[in-house]
Symmetry: D2
Subunit: 267 residues, 4 copies
């Protein structure tokens, strides 16, 4: 039977933040800029037609995006005990680049930690723990399974319009600590995602001095990470299971790429 027939009454939830010049992002990465080049009327074809276009400057870790496994190395090695020095050149990564991530179309599970704590947004410096994730799963009656994509709800998407707060300059950002990362690995998840720029707990005034969750997920366990997702609508709907589509741009050799993830919720 045809798959799209099952879509009747389903709801498509957009999990990407809108991309525009000036949006919050990490200062370590190139600034997003969308610049209109030609406007209607600049060049008019012989039949009265005219087209507008733009230039887009961005980075692989700007806006909603997926981290390739090769994005992070530890002591000189990327995932699979591959020496980082041997796989990088001006053409990018010859192994573990984002184009090696097979587009994910499968079960998505939302673990809503804000609901566990009865808040809309977790406090800036809050470290999400395994107990939080267990409580969120129990509360929603779901269980992550091997191969799933698990999204952690911190409510941080709601701070998007407050750049200094969103980026963590003011007081850090909430996110999983190393223990929560290990818990995700134990469940066998294939993908882990969240709302903050880095899928990490960043204490106030600490910055990204170390990225233990990236090390555990990308380097040690080979789990892909989705960052800067907009989960506001999904959190509001309270549906813990859905079909997740995660198809980052296939930029060959890149360490990450923008994506517009979709959740498909059945009626």
């Amino acid at each position: 039977m045809s798959l799209w027939r099952h879509l009747d009454g389903s709801r498509i939830v957009d999990l990407a933040q809108p991309m525009r010049t000036g949006m919050p992002q990490s200062p370590n990465h190139p600034r997003f800029r969308m610049v209109i080049e030609r406007r209607h009327g600049d060049m008019v074809r012989e039949d009265g037609g005219s087209a507008a276009n733009e230039v887009i400057l961005t980075g692989g870790h700007v806006g909603t995006h997926v981290d390739a496994l090769g994005h992070v190395s530890q002591d000189g090695y990327v995932h699979g005990e591959v020496e980082a020095a041997g796989i990088q050149s001006h053409q990018g990564l010859s192994r573990l680049g984002i184009e090696t991530f097979t587009p994910y179309v499968g079960r998505g599970v939302l673990l809503d930690v804000t609901a566990v704590h009865g808040v809309d947004v977790l406090p800036p410096g809050y470290e999400v723990t395994p107990e939080d994730l267990e409580a969120a799963a129990h509360r929603a009656g779901v269980r992550p399974r091997a191969g799933d994509a698990v999204l952690i709800g911190t409510g941080w998407s709601r701070e998007w319009d407050r750049p200094a707060r969103f980026t963590g300059e003011e007081g850090g950002v909430p996110g999983p600590g190393p223990d929560a990362a290990r818990w995700l690995v134990e469940q066998g998840v294939a993908v882990a995602g969240g709302e903050t720029i880095a899928f990490e707990h960043i204490a106030a005034g600490r910055g990204h001095s170390t990225l233990p969750v990236h090390r555990i997920l990308l380097v040690e366990a080979g789990v892909h990470i989705v960052e800067t997702m907009r989960l506001t609508e999904l959190l509001g709907l309270g549906t813990p299971e859905f079909l997740l589509v995660l198809n980052p741009l296939p930029i060959v050799g890149a360490t990450g790429a923008p994506v517009r993830p979709l959740a498909v919720l059945t009626a």
Copy 2:
């Protein structure tokens, strides 16, 4: 019942061309360039971790992408008889930008014109006609319905590795003429897509002097266009119906945006 359970045995077909520096594209648009900035080892954190990143330069009409309705105007007006001059600024389009395209998750129909003609690739200057589309639909036993996304197979994806040929410098490109565009409009399609840089028939040596199919689809009928798709694998499978996911990056105000379309084929 959960939607992802219907995915058992399904096949995900990637419909995007890989993005890399030097890939074929229109000379009217900014050249794609992916430049690795930091490599592993350039900056090492206190715990031995290191991250690589990149800068990405591109345009809204580079690689596989969706055209926003506001991309093209005719005699000063975009779709819906909106004056183009009034909706454009340094922030892009205030109406009909790509962020107004709701991600498409629905029925996709492939009309394979190469099969009709018994070839792998249509000749460079070939104009696809309504008769071709009717024949392709009849041959496959499918019928486009209102609201569908219809992809026209010309086989042109196979020329991707021959840039001068792919871009049409040598002899033009195959694609729908105005009559085929009107046929698509008559079927009530929501989205039309193809493998070439412009979803047009470009005669040898003619260039993009006029873009009648863009006018008919974008300006007159409000039908979105997907361009530079890679249909090789899908054409090989011979499945004329599938679930199509089309979720271009939500770049606010842009006249188009890159996308990685997926076809989900059930067993």
Copy 3:
């Protein structure tokens, strides 16, 4: 007699700020970014040679630069009562772009307002007045003449390494007010330059809500402006007259362009 023979014993003073990723600049303009693309060893030619290169992202008003006359308009008109709407397109300015500025090689005069006040740097919100300029000229025993390039020393270059201060976020920046601009016009100067990002007096917390000095110099009088100069060394030397070379990049149609100005001081 050959000009370069007069250079014996002369001193070349570099008046440009070094350009690097993260340098202070206006948030209204694209961020400067220099990204190394190929490194030595990435591509090695058959004879053992290898070359490194880079990508440079910048704007016409980033780093030390010259403003074209067409950069600013007032009530829809640029200098010479030319309607702004008629001279702009995707190709830039068809009139009054930076390529129409003839490279300046001539007398430069430094009016050191810090010396007048006995300070190293003027206070952030200080407005330079005609009296300051008269006092600086009198103190140094020089007089601007028609056609000269006049540089105003505020000492602000010394704040370069403190970005939040340099850009004026903290307390504004010192610079000429409208009266000082009119004084410059009365002297008949061809070029006026300074150390701040905008050649304006910006009061604390005020931002660039209006740019009266730009209006007076660029629009009304047709005087070019040089911004973000590094005058520290020149101020230290105390030489009020010198040969100034001002040769911005000839970017056709641009509203401004980077420059590396030089002062040649004779023995």
Copy 4:
């Protein structure tokens, strides 16, 4: 006596090619693109003022530019037997970057090889020899001296408006061979410059498979190279000696940078 007084009656000759989107350049480097972002009227300040600006994408070896000594390596070493691997990172070159080139203000000597051969432009694949340079010097009655900047006239600037020819795709480009490079080194020149994209003789159909002149000048001798100069006007004037100003943008760590060189010819 003041230097600028000697400028009376002097002539300033611009030695830079105009920079615009689509200009000829090496395909190995990022494409130049100047994109107007804000136009007059897009943002109007409270007093009726408005400013236009642009985004500039370029490379260090695009348009008229100076090669830093660290641009090229041979067998892993740059000039001075410095290991290339040890001086490169995401911040560019820590040694021998373009910012280490002291702006040149001194004697320039033009060796016009077109005059020697009685042509306007040397043939595409022509290799300039030491004999050509001796003949050009003799003909003009000049002699390069240690520390000079020597420009070789091939007339190639005249091909600027024919991109496929200028870049050498059609038949190569004229330029010095290894023997001419060694001759320049023997004269003790500090800077050598020419009109082509690479200061090399490129035989028809050969491409830049090796760059021996770059190796000899940059790596072995420490002589800076200026490329893509526009010498048409200077060649027409027939003045073999002049004051040359060569002040590339001080882009810290870059392997090269754009420049607008000027020749000052005395009456």
